[in-house]
């Protein structure tokens, strides 16, 4: 009964529920909603169990289940998790549950909406839990397609344009990444070609690919996957996509799906193509600093709150990239922690913004104001989310970004001599972007949305009731828990990132990063 595996459970539960919902009559939308919530709840419990049962002393893949599918191509249903995956699975479960809960505002075609949402959750689970490159890619596409449909059908504003733009960008990004993956597959000797990730990693450790091949393949993965993570200049889909998407979609996409590019970079590109990654690091460094500083500056100019959040997430992704580009153990571990923390924070921010939108019908920052008076609960939570976003200690983003900065400070070759001291200039810029620019645009938005006198038209808004509060409180508790005690997560991530860094060190003794 190998198939009764907790990771299979996290993937199949939402799929089973989605399939079940298809057979429900569409008019029983309340029952459909509760069933969907049940499915998401079971999923989050399973993902929590996976995290709890995860053995942090075992650096290999755990909960492995493998069923051969296409023997000739060495393709198989293959799940398993190391520390990075298990943290992302946990993130998917949490955000998926919260996104299902906040969808009170969906009033048409509820059945289709929840089916798509559950498919998204299943796809995200699959892409983080799979160990077969084919399935990793397949599940990512499975999660992505509902996004486009949901923006197009239940979105707001320029939703058709937004759906089209996101589709084009994300499909193009995924396609470029696919070219890279195929090139990677073909670069292996015919006898050793496989989709099996652990085998590939072992193989690459013993027979590294030729440096020029790595240098050729890596940019496909970097820019393809980078587009999915809104790496500047391939980022413009993110703000408009999130501005027009329905709340649950924005939460889930910004929170979880967006992390796929980073995950695949860490999981596939870094260990298999360390030389390529190293040679392209200069380009990545410039782009990620653009993410942080330029993204933050553009966020200052936004008039629509969701656009601002979109650009803010562009800036935060820069931090995750910085951790990856640092090539250090601390930085890479921090990058994974940032992925988790930002996932929760972005979901909370878009969820709350969705509540404001449902109440006021506008996201124009100038139109809003003084909303803490009529909406004390939601307003307070938005203020706290803003604090999380500016990296205030006590929220999960702080330890993540702190580790990234410390890791980046260690990165060899980034130090410039200024007088008697040497200063890591990427850290200077990143900290400026994260701590100062981030504070300016976030607090300005909070000042204009939550504080100040309340316009007469917003006096009668209704604060969230007890049911509506559950998802927000849930996300906030996770954010604070990790912020005050990040050690369990860090300890889970460490063995996995340690292995990747060891692999890089072995592949390139000349540029061996410090540990």
């Amino acid at each position: 009964m190998d198939f009764l595996n907790i990771l299979n459970g996290t993937i199949l539960t939402p799929l089973v529920f989605a399939a079940g919902l298809c057979f429900m009559p569409a008019r029983k939308w309340l029952a459909i909603r509760w069933l969907a919530i049940l499915g998401a709840f079971i999923t989050v419990v399973l993902s929590g169990l996976a995290f709890a049962w995860f053995n942090i002393n075992d650096p290999g893949f755990q909960f492995v289940n493998r069923v051969t599918w296409v023997e000739s191509l060495d393709m198989s249903w293959h799940v398993g998790a190391d520390g990075i995956s298990v943290v992302m699975v946990l993130l998917t479960g949490i955000v998926g549950f919260a996104a299902t809960l906040v969808s009170w505002d969906i009033t048409s075609r509820q059945k289709e909406f929840y089916v798509l949402l559950l498919i998204m959750i299943a796809g995200a689970m699959g892409m983080f839990a799979s160990l077969d490159i084919f399935f990793i890619y397949f599940f990512h596409e499975l999660a992505l397609i509902p996004t486009f449909l949901m923006i197009g059908i239940w979105g707001s504003g320029k939703r058709e344009y937004a759906a089209m733009k996101t589709t084009l960008y994300l499909s193009a990004g995924a396609f470029v990444a696919l070219i890279g993956l195929i090139a990677l597959y073909l670069a292996l000797p015919a006898a050793d070609r496989t989709f099996n990730l652990p085998t590939l990693l072992d193989y690459a450790r013993q027979h590294p690919l030729a440096a020029n091949v790595q240098r050729f393949i890596y940019p496909f993965l970097l820019f393809g996957l980078g587009t999915l993570v809104s790496l500047v200049p391939f980022h413009t889909w993110a703000p408009i996509g999130y501005a027009c998407a329905p709340t649950a979609t924005a939460m889930f996409h910004a929170g979880v799906l967006k992390k796929f590019g980073l995950y695949a970079l860490i999981r596939i590109a870094l260990p298999l193509l360390p030389v390529g990654a190293h040679d392209w690091n200069g380009v990545l460094l410039v782009l990620l600093l653009c993410n942080i500083v330029y993204g933050g500056l553009v966020a200052m100019r936004q008039k629509d709150f969701n656009y601002l959040l979109g650009y803010s997430s562009v800036a935060h992704m820069g931090f995750a990239f910085l951790g990856i580009a640092s090539f250090t153990f601390i930085g890479l571990t921090g990058a994974v922690l940032v992925m988790f923390a930002h996932g929760i924070m972005a979901a909370l921010a878009f969820g709350l913004s969705g509540y404001f939108f449902a109440q006021t019908g506008t996201r124009e920052i100038k139109e809003l104001g003084g909303l803490c008076r009529p909406l004390p609960f939601v307003g307070t939570l938005l203020v706290m989310t803003a604090f999380a976003s500016v990296g205030l200690p006590g929220f999960a983003n702080f330890p993540g970004e702190l580790m990234v900065l410390f890791g980046a400070w260690q990165a060899p070759g980034w130090h410039a001599k200024i007088g008697a001291a040497t200063v890591s200039w990427p850290v200077l810029l990143a900290l400026w972007g994260g701590a100062v620019i981030g504070a300016v645009y976030m607090l300005r938005a909070i000042r204009n949305i939550c504080f100040g006198p309340t316009p007469a038209k917003w006096q009668s808004l209704v604060d969230a009731n007890i049911f509506a509060r559950v998802p927000y409180v849930f996300l906030l508790v996770v954010l604070i828990w990790v912020g005050c005690y990040p050690k369990p997560l860090v300890e889970a991530i460490k063995p996995a990132t340690g292995q990747i860094i060891t692999a890089i060190e072995k592949a390139m003794p000349a540029v061996a990063p410090k540990r």
Binding site: R301, G370, V423
Partner: protein, 628 residues
Amino acid sequence: MEDVSGLLWRVLAGPLSAAVVIWLLCHKSKFYTDFGPIMERQAAAFIAIGFLAGSSLFGYWAFGAVRDGAQMENRVLYEFLSAGDLMVEINWSLDRLSGLMMMVVCGVSLCIMVYSIGYMHDDPGISRFFAKLSFFVFSMLGIVLAGNFLMMFIFWELVGVSSYLLIGYWYERPSAADAGKKAFIVNRLGDFGFLIGILMLWGITGEVDFVRVKNQLAAHPVDANLLAVATVLIFCGAVGKSAQFPLHVWLPDAMEGPTPVSALIHAATMVAAGVYMLCRVSFLVFGSPVAMEIIAWTGGITALMAALIATQQNDIKRILAYSTLSQLGYMVMAVGLSNPAGSGYMPAMFHLSTHAFFKALLFLSAGSVIIALHHSEQDIWKMGGLLKKMPITAGCFAVGALALCGFPFMSGFYSKEAILGLAYDHNPRLYLLATVTAGLTAFYMFRCFFVAFFGNTRGEHAEKAKESSWVVLGPLVVLAVASICGGWFGIPEWLVENKAISAEHAPRAVMIAALAAFTIGVGAAAFLYARGATTDALNKLPVLSWVLRNKFFIEEIYMVLVKAGQGTLAWLCGFVDRWIIAGLAVRGLAATTRGTGQVLRLFQTGNVQTYALWFAAGATIILYCLVR
């Protein structure tokens, strides 16, 4: 040795639990209606004060253990995170320095919380107020007890955010909301340097723990210039939090918060955190003379500049705010002038402690005046004659002012004398500056006192003023006693165990000069303002008063710089993103695709003749290629 580590988390847990309990339970909900009408309004206050009192008891217990010689450093509460060379713990440092600071914070906070019951009596959001105030005390105690740089940074930021929340307590007032935002962002600028400094120090030593960094530096001496740079960067944190020039601009605006907040956070404790932090890392500061020079001058310039500005302010709270700036400058200067072999950081900490008492007293007295004027008048020129109407408040204000100006045998006299003595020994120019500042201090404080409390009443609110209730006056009297006796408690002896050093006094010349400065300042104020003046006599010096009233135009300069720098940059980036990346590049790509489609469509007309034409053209080209 008694294990006191178990006490310390209890000290922190008190105010934190108070904040959480109030936040979760004290709503406008039905929860308190069962307790009757008084409980409903004041429950939050009782919770906050009760928990804080408990904490203070634990704190006093730990204080006693320190007195009995229990040196407990770096007991780890829990490990925050660790990876590679980075190891962050939540651990304590408890010694004479943190013990003193803990007692000051607990004592002043208790007084101010009791006072707040009276001051905030009619405010509908009183529970929110006490929750935030408790959270502030928690964060402040966290700074005091922090055992490593990152833990200090964590609580440093938390203190910043509680300050932001409390300045913007009346968030519906645009000015309050703006002031909170400004305070947070300006503090962030300082923290930017602070964190870079921590990173640099970690790069040098591989540690973030105070004791381990100290040992590392002792075992492996590093380049003095490198250390100086790291120290100055860490000092940036203090420049932000203690509002030193050039990051002082947020503190006067912070007076938008309720007066108890101004007293506790923006006078007595939080703004002193920068000075405390410098004392905590004195092993770094004292190791680099260059950094000490920079610190001393920063403090000195702040002290003089703020005192000058204070002479021309009219809002009673703003006068006190600039006075706070000036006194913080004194303390920072004292750190920079310290004699590591002698009294060490004692003068700075001594002045910090006495200042906490008399500045809290002054703010609370001002608050009492504001209560009497129905929270609607803070301009001293619209007060006047309050001495007769509220004698106890006036007396307390006078005690505070005298202590601040260093009137003999009051607390400020001893602590200021210690600083002036240091300056006299180490840096004559700064000594001159400090003495002039002392004179200015006496001048602006007594200007404020004479204008507000002497003469005839000059406003309708002042007409109807009457003495405040005992819940307000009680804390005033306690603080007044502390302000008078603060110099006699033996704070120098507590900090410097060597009796010969702690008993040292400044040379007689210094004392005489300080007394002369005091007399001149008070005399000038009395001459200009004590005889019932109704307008400011300094208005006759138009340029001077114009410049001072506008605070040397520093804020205006910053506004222009921010607009020109950050604003333009953001505008440029927004433009590029909208019109170049999203516009030209993306739309251009889309347009090219569409255009290509349009052109290609011409080939697919569905018309047989067209196809035949294209077929013929293609065949011709192929034939041509073959034949050629």
